[in-house]
Structures are given as structure tokens and as C-alpha cells.
Amino acid sequence: MSIDLSVWEIVIGLEVHTELATRTKLFCSAPNEFGGEPNTNIDPLTLGLPGSLPVLNEQAVELAIRVGLALNCKIDRSVFSRKNYFYPDQPTNYQISQFDLPINGEGWLELPSGKVIGIERAHLEEDTGKSTHVGGGGRIHDATYSLVDYNRAGVPLLEIVGRPDLRSGDEARAYVSELRAILVAVGASDGKMEEGSLRVDCNVSVRKHGDAELGTRCEIKNINSLRSLGRAVDYEAERQIDMILAGERIEQQTRHWNEDEGRTLKLRSKEQADDYRYFPEPDLVGLAPSQEWIDRVREALPLLPAARRHRLCERSGADTAQAALIVERGLDDLCLAALDCGADPSRTITHAEHNLSDPKALELDPEMFAKLTKMDADGDLSSTQTKTVLAELVQLGGDPGEIAEAHGFKAMDSGELDAVVDQLIAENPEQWQRFCEGDPKISGFFVGKVMKATQGQADGKVVASLLADRVPNAAKE
């Protein structure tokens, strides 16, 4: 990327739509399920049949409150409004959404880096159906015919509108990743971007450092993965900077991310605001969750990712990057339980970071894991042996002591190893000469010989260090 970040500042604000994991739709009892035969999860309201009326789903409200509390939002009296626009996948040609009075107001989210990102609001609304335009350019105006599937119509969505506080593609990814972790933690969503349960619209603008005003922004749609998000931000920022450098004006646009071509393409101009003729939905009454309800939801909230990271750092001395990775893998509870069993903190974190990527690691017995970290720390096992035992512990369970014994593992005492190393140097003077001259290829020769002589019980790192100790000082210069 050729952006000079000492001059330019990228400003990003994200609107994230998440489907709420309710049993039924937002305003009716049709099931909220992904992947059914087209037009099977429907009922009169889903199709906007005359005479049908919406009734608010209490579970959706509770999930919205959970997310609101997790994002430190002010939960308030809210009102549903109608957003009017004609499109065939919108069965009534209006969407029931929240406009001036959202359920969740002002809040914030803390990234693993410690940076705090503002949340403007997180409001409830219904999803649309899905259109497929056949023939022509695959767009509605030139299609031969169009098909509509209303299974998704009326599925509850929470639209989480973030403040333009993000400054890079990486930061945007970290934000979505953190938000997804929170949504999954509170049980609001499965967080699957590829199934559309999490959809990200990304507003990007650029300005020079020190500028008070924000630049004109473009909204990017069709971002289907975290990877695309980072790429789309970088592409779009570069496009805008190139335009400014060429003396062109940035037009406010909605742009489409094309994954294959790796670029954004103009969908439409947003210079003229759409007129959705919002007005309060007369078929619903105002929503005012009681303080008791909110308190009950708050008490039942699980520990959130940021709190888990802080806890892990405090208890184990892990750094922020390690804590972020371990919490993301869901291994922090295991680590803490192992520490309670007397595990070695540093080895615990190192193993969780590097050697426990297998999902089966979540089922590790903390006591046995703790025992292994102690054996490791005490030098009872070489690092290769530790890894072997840990892998077996993850796959089959058991006691690390017994596993080590079954393999015939025991750490060699250093005198024994010294003797082996000395003997090998004596037997291979030519190779030793090359080693002393610094030939990198020969190091493996000696380590291999030691391993063979000790049946793998020597620690490779220790062997390397013993070899290094024996190089005459003159050769080192």
C-alpha cells in the first residue's frame, strides 16, 4: 500500500447488522431459521397480507438489551417507526425499524489494544427477504424475471452503529472481531459472516492529520469476511487519496466491494438523501423495558471478552496479544483453572498460545495440564517431550506423568549429556571443525546424533547450548 500515513488519516465508522438468534421472527411466530426451502418460513405477516398485524417478540428485545448492556449503552424507552420504500423483497414496502428513539443509545466498546470505540446506537429492526434477479445484468431493472424468498423477511436484526473512531483496516477488523466475540458471548448471534448473520457496512473517509473536519465518506457494502474488510478499507482509502491528490472532489457514494477484483465499485450516489418518510409505527405501542427486567438481564450477563483478557493478564502475566488470542480461543478459563491447581504461569500461557489450537484442548483437565507445566518448568521433560505429552493429553486425556513414563521419557541429567556431547565431538573432528567455523548446516548433524544416542530424551535447545559452550573463544570472533 502506498498511503503515507504520516500525512493522511483514514477515518472509519462501521454499521454492523446482526441477526438475533431468536426462535421466531421479530413480529410474528414464523420460525427464524437459516437455509430452508424458499418461502417455507412464512406466515401472513411475513408476506404482508392484508389485515395482518405485528406483535413484538420479547426474546428479541431481551437479546437487544443484552447486547446494549455489553456495549455499555444507555437502554431507553424506544419507538418503532416505518421506513417506507418500494422493493419487492420488502413485503409491506415498509420496514419496521427504530428511528429517532432506539432501544440502545450511546455506548462504547474496548478493543484488545485498549482503545475505546464509541457506539452511537444499537437498534432493533426487521430483515428483508432475498431477491434473485435472473437475466440481464443480474440487477432488478434489467432482469428477465426476479424471484423472491421471504424466509428471511421479518428476522430480527440489531443494527449497531459505531462512531467514526477507527483509523485503519486492522483496527476495523479488530473492532468487528471484538463485536462478534461479544455477540457470541451474550448469546445474541452466532456471528457467522458467511451466512449473513453478521453484515458489515463500512464508511470510509480520509483527511490530513490535524484537519478538524471529516472528509466526504463513502459507504462500502458487500463485505463478507474480516479479511475483505481490511482489504476494502485499504483500497478505498487509497482511491480517495489518489482522487484528492489528482485535484478531484470525493462524491458521497454507496460502493460495492468486489472480492475477486479487490476493489470497490460505485453502486449509487448518496448526494441526495433518500426520503424514507419515517413515521411512528401505529400498529405497535412504545417499548419501555422495566428497570427490573434490565437489572435481571444485567445480572445474567456472562463475563465479556475484555473482562476475560484483563483477568487473564492479571492472574498469569500474559501480555495483551497473548491474552487476546487465548480469550478468542476460549482457553482462558482452562488457563485460570490450571493456575488454581498450581500450574507454572509462564508455561501455561506459552502452551495455550502455541500448542493448544486444537478445539479438543477446551476439554483438557486443568489439573493434568497444570502438572505438565510443572514438569516442563522443573526440567523433567525436554521441550520436544513436553509437546508430545501435551498433544497426547489433548487427544486422549490421562496423566502427564504416566504418559511420559509410557514413552520412556525422562530428562537426562546434565552430566550424562555432557559426556555424550564430548564423545560425539571426539568421534567427528571434521564436522566439529566446520561447526566451529560457523557452518549453519552442521548444527543439525550434531543435534541429530545426540538425539539418536539419547533416544530422543535430550532437549534440543540444551544440546545446542552445550555445543555452543564448547566452541573455542577464538573461533567465535
Binding site: 404482508g48 392484508p50 389485515g51 398485524l53 413484538l56 431493472h141 432482469a143 418518510r277 419515517y278 401505529p282
Partner: protein
């Protein structure tokens, strides 16, 4: 023709079968329907099956409901499972609902027999039933005159003896005004007391279902059957419908009744005003304290209504686009298909109101139009509240004139809108009101007296209406 209450009693006692009652009414329909045109559809087969079921239930000794065997006509904006429901619009032609409106379910559970779907102004927009896509309904008292609207078919069906009771809907007077013009009783209950589930929406915050009947007692019974909480309507109130039937003979002695000044002056035909003054005098003679009272904000009612109702309608009617059901006019693109379908499917008055409402909600105009109308609504409620601190019920004409002739007001929409000047404020306030026949005007056509009450004040309202009805017999 006997009353609904007498019919139910005779069917319950086995004196008459539901089928006999039905045949009698189908006979009346066969005799006069061609000239009255109260119905979009007479549901003969459906009715015979329902009546047979009531008779079989009686034969088995099963308990019969309070409307056992009573024929009922249903306005064609109430959904009826398996029976076409059109709102008198071409855009819904051929659409058959897969469900019954809650009120239809409740009537059927009470043993009532639906005999047909009644004609109306398209999507309930109008005051004469001349806006029906399927031709107007005629006033049974004088076939050269309109029955009022929008529930003109339901009013005419009761007036003509096609059914002792019927259901209509009232957004700005659509039950009360045709009741007055056809000389029958019509009730607009408190907003939220009768379910709107299955009522095809016009102005959702104003719409309310209610009955027509030949007597106050029959109307009271129907309200009690169809009213009460429905979890399927979020705006439905939690309580049962006020128990009005047991208070019909309470009289008005000691009641405080206000005659609304703003509805007795300019714009009200002298012969109509005269009948209402006579009603006030009679109530005073019967022991009520009757006084004139000013409810100033009602004069803004018409303006506010013609912003709120069209605004909601413009959104409610946007679903009729040819994509999922009803009329579709094919075109090369989806957008053109929607345009052509709506152009062909909606009548002029519906189009006029969709345009009014779309404009009122548009960015830059919302505050001036829709926003102001909402404030006027609050004012109207406040002025009514002030009046109800002093009075138990209010009195006014239902309609400024008796039934007018076909074509009299179609050229000038404003003159038609003014017909609802006495009824509209009630809907904006969400209050109940009913029309009860109170004699005839100079032209020999019925005059309706409107009794208004505060929210959930149905008991007071029915007491006054029953007293007025009693004064005439």
C-alpha cells in the same frame, strides 16, 4: 323481521331452526338486493353450512352462543377465511384470505351466521359508498340517495332487513354516519377495545371495528361479543369490553350531558339541528343535567384527520404492488409492473389520499404537516378531557345533513369530507361514540343523534343512547 336477541332466544329454545331464520333473510336479500346492492358477495353456501352446524349443535344439546343462528353481514374489509375480501377495490380482486379477522372468529363462536360481505367505499375512503369499484350501495329508505359511508353496505343491509346486525369499521365516522343516514344504530367503540387483527388497515391509529343494529340493545350485545383483549393486536387494551347490556335500562336521571356548541351551528342543516335540540330537551326532561359545552379544538379535527389518516394510508396501502397477491398488470420491469398495477387497481379517491399522505410525510414537510396534526390530536384529546370533567357524555348530530343524492358531493372532495365534521374528532381522540336514530328530517329521511363519551365510557354512552331510543317508542 325479528331482532338478533329474539332470534337467538328462539333458536336456543328450538322454536325456530337457524336454517329457517337464514332462509327468511336470504329471501329478503333475494327480494331487494338487486336494487340496494348492499353486498359485494352473498355467502349463501357458507351461511347454510354454518346454520346447519348451529342446528346440529342444538340437536346434540351443545351450548349455543348468545348470537345463535343470527344472520350477520360483514364489511368487506374484514378478512374471512376462504371467502374473497376485496375492500371494494380492484387491486384485491380475487384475493382470498387464509384467516378470519378476530371479530369474525368471535361472532362465529357466538353462533352468528355470516350471510355476506358488504359493499363499502374503496379501502374505507369515502362517506357515500360511491367510491366502491363495484358500484354504489343505495339507501333502502330512498334508492335515489346514498347510504353514507364508508360502511354503507353494512348500514343498508341492516336497514333493509337483510341481517339484523352487521359489522363495519370507523376511521373518521364510517360506522356512525351511514348508521345515521340509514336510520339504524351504529357504534364506534373506544380505540383498543375491539381487535383490529384481520381488519384491512386504512388509518391504523384511527380504525376501529363496530356494529350496526336496529336497536341499542342488539348493538350492545354485539360489542360484548366482539370486544375484549386480543394478544394478536398490540394496540388492544387488556380488559374485557365494558359490560354495557346490563345498564341499558338505568336511565339518565342525574347524568350530566353536554351539547357540543361547535357541532350545532354553521354547516349543520336546520332540520338536523332541530332534532338534536329535541333530543337534548328530552334528556333534560328525563332527569339529566343538559348544558351546551364548547370543545374548541374539534374545529381543527378535519384538517388534522386529513393529514393523519392519509399519511398512515399511504404506508398501509404500499403493500398492494402486484408482487404477492391481488391484481398484477404485467410490464417489462418490476418497477413498471408496480406502477401500472397501482394505477389500474386503485380508484381516484384512494390515489388522492395516497398522494396527500405521501406529501405529508415527506422530508421537509413532516413537521409542518404530520407533526402539527399529531399536536392537534393532543389538543383535541385535552379539550375533550376538559369537557368530560364536567359531563358524563356529550351529544351532537352524527351527520350535518340527512342522506344526500348520488353525485351531489362527488365533484368536490371537500364537500364530501365536511360530511364527517361531527364524527372525526372522536377517532382522533380514540374515544367511543355512537349514532342512534332520532326521528326524521324535513325530507322524511332519518336523522342520527351522536352520543360521545370518554375512553372506556361505553356504559354512560349506551345509557344515553338507550334513553333516546326509548323516548321515541
Amino acid at each position: 323481521m325479528s331482532s338478533a336477541i329474539d332470534i337467538a332466544a328462539s333458536v336456543q329454545s328450538g322454536e325456530r331452526s337457524a336454517l329457517e331464520v337464514l332462509e327468511e333473510h336470504l329471501g329478503a336479500i333475494a327480494e331487494r338486493e338487486s336494487e340496494v346492492h348492499a353486498f359485494n358477495l352473498v355467502t349463501t353456501d357458507h351461511a347454510i353450512a354454518a346454520a346447519t352446524a348451529v342446528d346440529e349443535l342444538l340437536a346434540k344439546g351443545g351450548p349455543l352462543g348468545p348470537l345463535a343462528g343470527v344472520p350477520v353481514a360483514i364489511k368487506d374489509n374484514l378478512c374471512t377465511r376462504g371467502v374473497a375480501t376485496t375492500c371494494s377495490s380492484k387491486i384485491l380482486e380475487g384475493w382470498v384470505p387464509p384467516y378470519d379477522a378476530t371479530v369474525v372468529t368471535r361472532l362465529a363462536a357466538a353462533g352468528a351466521i355470516m350471510v355476506g360481505k358488504t359493499n363499502m367505499d374503496e379501502f374505507a375512503m369515502g362517506s357515500s359508498t360511491e367510491n366502491s369499484a363495484f358500484g354504489p350501495t343505495r339507501n333502502p329508505h330512498d334508492l335515489s340517495r346514498v347510504p353514507g359511508g364508508s360502511s354503507g353496505g353494512s348500514a343498508a343491509a341492516v336497514a333493509a332487513g337483510f341481517a339484523p346486525i352487521s359489522l363495519g369499521s370507523d376511521t373518521g365516522g364510517s360506522i356512525r354516519q351511514p348508521a345515521a343516514l340509514c336510520g339504524v344504530v351504529g357504534v364506534k367503540p373506544t380505540y383498543g377495545t375491539v381487535s383490529r387483527l384481520g381488519l384491512i388497515a386504512f388509518g391504523s391509529s384511527l380504525d376501529q371495528v363496530g356494529p350496526f343494529a336496529n336497536s341499542v340493545a342488539e348493538a350492545a350485545l354485539v360489542c360484548e361479543v366482539i370486544g375484549g383483549h386480543d394478544p394478536g393486536d398490540s394496540t388492544s387494551l387488556p380488559q374485557a369490553f365494558p359490560a354495557v347490556s346490563e345498564h341499558l335500562s338505568d336511565g339518565v336521571a342525574g347524568m350530566r350531558i353536554g351539547l357540543i356548541t361547535e357541532m350545532m351551528g354553521e354547516g349543520i342543516a336546520p332540520d338536523v339541528a332541530k332534532r338534536i335540540r329535541a333530543a337534548a330537551e328530552w334528556l333534560a326532561a328525563a332527569g339529566a343535567e343538559v348544558e351546551e359545552v364548547s370543545v374548541p379544538a374539534v374545529t381543527f379535527g378535519l384538517s388534522a384527520y386529513y393529514l393523519v389518516a392519509p399519511a398512515e394510508a399511504s404506508s398501509n396501502l404500499s403493500r398492494y404492488d402486484g408482487v404477492r397477491y391481488g391484481l398484477r398488470v404485467d410490464a417489462p420491469t418490476t418497477g413498471e409492473m408496480m406502477e401500472l398495477t397501482r394505477t389500474a387497481g386503485f380508484g381516484d379517491e384512494v390515489k388522492r389520499r395516497i398522494m396527500l399522505g405521501t406529501y405529508a410525510l415527506s422530508a421537509g414537510y413532516y413537521d409542518a404537516f404530520y407533526g402539527t396534526a399529531l399536536k392537534v390530536r393532543t389538543l383535541i384529546r385535552r379539550d375533550f378531557d376538559a369537557a368530560y370533567e364536567r359531563f358524563d357524555a356529550l351529544l351532537s348530530p352524527t351527520s350535518p345533513t340527512t342522506a344526500f343524492s348520488f353525485g351531489d358531493k362527488t365533484a368536490d372532495p371537500m364537500s364530501m369530507y365536511l360530511n364527517d365534521v361531527c364524527t372525526i374528532a372522536t377517532n382522533l381522540a380514540g374515544h367511543p361514540a355512537m349514532s342512534v336514530p332520532y326521528g326524521l328530517g324535513a325530507d322524511g329521511m332519518p336523522v342520527g343523534a351522536q352520543v360521545l363519551a370518554p375512553a372506556l365510557g361505553e356504559v354512560a354512552m349506551f345509557r344515553v343512547a338507550a334513553a333516546l331510543e326509548g323516548s321515541l317508542s
